[in-house]
């Protein structure tokens, strides 16, 4: 049987090569190939059926797979007198070769029968038909199926196909499938089996470990040791990749936290204002993105890829303007009374939420991703979406930009002066109320920018902000109030810790543990990770 399959596979490859080289002749060649095979199917002899299946598998005819499948399912029927072969489908009888409905089906149709020998050939033919499929995805799928079944019958086809395979990923799948078969083949040489375990090591996933560990007890010791060694090596590398993945995902989560918290680091950290409406500034930014995209969709669809770039300054302006308005009308009356500020801004957050709910409705709004942010890429063993990567980049850019504003611009200098010593700054001629409004507006505007980014990974709903407010405060308090670098370290630490806890604690419990950790941490260092040094008793 192996010899037959090998022969079939070789001829199949030859024909495939011919077909690709001479596309003009394909229809003629196929028609000739398949008619002989179909004729053999009408003789009602197992030997002829086996031969016909071989020819079909080798033909490369587009209908071949359907016909072989038909025999397997018992749906292929024939009439010996008129030499008709027909496939019974849900829509009725169709001509096996042409795939068209039969105009006048003969009366005495009977199914093509199969015994165990025919079934064995059928399975191999199906395998090689898909292994030969012109679609690389199908070929890979077939190789995976062979890998799982470790069907020795497919070995010949694989060995024939491997040298011809151009697609590297399919090639790797073929190699792994072949190795899996050889590893379990009791009549293969020990050297070949040891080599096979090395190939499986290159595959390097959990399936490979299972295959390597599943060897029966009577396997020669050398093969078993090689397999165990390969399995161990895979496990080590998997554990390493899992850590890398946790770290990368943690940094990704940390950047989200950083984006959400960095505006708060200005309003709470630098100015000491407890802005409970901070989350709503983020939400306003997300809704700005939604509105920008709606306008673009209706008026200038070509600009869609630029929608986020357009939304960023707008979101900064919208949230910043709302922030300045809040500072001028409410917060300036409450300086020095942090708990009252907390209550008033909480009330504001309710009002803002309800306003947005009244205008846009309570349901989630659809914010699309530009083409350069959708999709994902693979790096080693981990998959990362472009959106996540861009958010990491964006968070860092916002952070650096904010540091630059505070450290390098005159406005930043004034902001720092006012927050460090209000009376002295005022005496030096700085308009402190103006700087207050500006600083608060800056913090809120940054929150709006964060909203643009978060609209890509979270549901845009009126409750968007609420889900970030507690996390943001945790980040700022953990990192140390009044210190932007502390916020950066705090956000990344919490993100990474969260992701490392998740695998064995679960997402929710991991979050609870992080909260408890922060509560305990604040007991130990009430001023956060990087506290500002000072001598004040009542800070």
């Amino acid at each position: 049987m192996h010899a037959t399959v090998r022969r079939l596979a070789r001829s199949a490859l030859l024909i495939l090569a011919l077909l690709t080289a001479l596309p003009v002749l394909t229809t003629v060649a196929r028609a000739q190939d398949i008619s002989g095979a179909l004729a053999k199917l009408t003789t009602d002899s197992y030997a002829d059926t086996v031969e016909a299946i071989g020819q079909l598998a080798a033909s490369g005819h587009p209908r071949a797979a359907a016909i072989v499948q038909g025999i397997q399912d018992g749906k292929l029927e024939f009439d010996a007198a008129s030499k008709t072969v027909a496939l019974r489908t849900a829509a009725g009888l169709v001509d096996a070769a042409k795939g068209e409905a039969l105009a006048s089906p003969p009366a005495g149709l009977s199914p093509v029968r199969a015994n165990n020998r025919v079934r064995g050939v059928l399975a191999a033919a199906m395998g090689s038909l898909t292994l030969m499929s012109p679609d690389p995805a199908k070929r890979r799928e077939a190789a995976e199926a062979v890998y799982k079944s470790r069907d020795a019958g497919a070995l010949a086809t694989l060995e024939a196909a491997i040298p011809k395979e151009a697609d590297t990923r399919v090639r790797a799948a073929f190699d792994a499938a072949r190795a899996a078969i050889v590893l379990y083949k009791t009549d293969a040489t020990e050297d070949a089996r040891v080599a096979a375990s090395e190939v499986l090591k290159a595959r390097g996933d959990q399936d490979a470990v299972a295959t390597l560990r599943g060897l029966p007890g009577d396997t020669p010791k050398r093969v078993r040791d090689a397999a165990e060694g390969a399995a161990k090596a895979i496990e080590t590398s998997l554990a390493m990749w899992a850590s890398v993945q946790n770290a990368v995902y943690g940094v990704s989560l940390g950047s989200v936290l950083l984006l959400a918290a960095i505006g708060l680091a200005i309003t709470f950290g630098v100015m000491g204002i407890i802005n409970m409406a901070h989350g709503e500034m983020v939400m306003l930014g997300a809704y700005t993105t939604f509105v920008v995209q709606e306008v673009i969709r209706t008026h200038a669809p070509g600009l869609f890829d630029w929608s986020l770039a357009i939304a960023i300054p707008l979101a900064f302006l919208v949230s910043g303007a709302v922030g300045v308005a809040i500072e001028r009308t409410i917060i300036r009356f409450l300086y020095g009374r942090p708990l009252e500020t907390l209550l008033a801004t909480w009330g504001l957050s309710l009002i803002l939420q309800q306003t947005v709910r009244t205008i846009f409705g309570a349901n989630n709004r659809e914010v699309g991703a530009p083409s350069w942010m959708s999709g994902s890429f693979e790096f080693g063993n981990l998959t990362m979406t472009w959106g996540r990567l861009w958010i990491v980049v964006f968070a860092m850019a916002v952070f650096v930009g904010l540091i630059m504003i505070l450290k390098k611009t005159p406005a930043g200098l004034q902001m720092r002066a006012v927050t460090q010593n209000r009376a002295m700054a005022s005496a030096m001629g700085i308009r402190t109320p103006f700087v207050d409004a500006l600083t608060f507006g800056l913090g809120c505007g940054i929150a709006g920018i964060a909203g643009v980014a978060l609209s890509q990974i979270d549901n845009v709903s009126p409750n968007l902000g609420q889900s970030y407010i507690i996390d943001s405060f945790m980040v700022v308090v953990f990192g140390g109030v009044g210190n932007l670098w502390g916020t950066l370290v705090g956000a990344l630490t919490l993100g990474v810790v969260n992701k490392f806890l998740e695998p064995f604690a679960g997402a929710v419990l991991g979050k609870i543990l992080v909260l408890v950790f922060i509560i305990l941490f604040i007991q130990k260092r009430p001023r956060g990770l990087f506290a500002l040094k000072g001598r004040a008793v009542d800070a």
Binding site: I274, P338, G347, Q354, I470, F473, I512
Partner: protein, 377 residues
Amino acid sequence: MITHFLMNGLDARVRIALVVIVAIAILVPASNLLLPPSSPFHVPTYLVTLFGKYATYAVLALALDLVWGYCGILSLGHGAFFALGGYAMGMYLMRQIGTRGVYGNPILPDFMVFLNWKELPWYWYGFDHFAFAMVMVVLVPGILAFVFGWFAFRSRVTGVYLSIITQALTYALLLAFFRNDMGFGGNNGLTDFKDIVGFNVQAQGTRASLFALSCLLVAAGLVLTAAIVNSKLGKVLIAIRDAESRTRFIGYRVATYKTFVFTVSAMLAGLAGALYVPQVGIINPSEFSPGNSIEAVIWVAVGGRGTLVGAIVGAVAVNWGKTWFTGVLPSFWLFALGGLFVLVTLFLPKGIVGTWSEWRAKRRAAPPADATPAPAE
């Protein structure tokens, strides 16, 4: 001696409030049970339950006023103690269902049968006894508050930091109670109660009694908190509120005082939660949501921080407004509540009761000696 304390130990405002509360505790159930529904003075049962709910909120507000108004501890997590008390009561009520549940399991509550649990978790033991459950109602919030306060106050976590970590505490509990593995019914919480100490929770008589009990709890809570704040201990608390460092330097152990008052307040909140649950008929994790705790703060702020009676007035007034608004203009309630937060902090920092006593004191043209000291924060 108790009479002497009630007559002389309390100021006039508290005495008047006590008389009114006790009168309500007697008159409302009486009119509900004794008068025919046709009578104009009959109070329908749904209103009795509604007012009963307000009364439990009033106790929560009292508890919060004790720590915030008199000790400067703005807890944004008092809802957690309220909910823990509620869960302890809910567990007792669940065990009382017995075989009347959907699955008819005599030991396991329905949700455990549904989750395929085989036996009762250890922390559910004992909750079939009413007395044990009542001890837990006070003990669980008390122990949590004690441990939390012990760590927080000894480390001198104050002001907004404390507010934020109390909020994190209730948020962590919210997430925890949402988990099915916790064994508290997950998302759905505990509900479908049948009996409380042998009486049907749905029955008119039970509801009237629960209302009367809630009112009496308000009265008892008022006496307790008034006794604390008017004692020498209360003077130290007020000193801590107004000048914590100075109090510490004089030689008082600030952390001990704070831990004590925080724990007492949490126990009171737990009791309020325990009476809340049989009246509303359900307890679920949403009671832990940080929003609820902040809402309780606004009750105190509206009524008047540091006035005790104001906390009760504020809780009833705000919740009555909520009921009215959600009936008439549902989408405007959040605007109204949000506006209330802003307006009260900006224009009415002393709350209704505080502003009223100030106004009365001014009208008498006497120095405002008996007026509540303005909370400095």
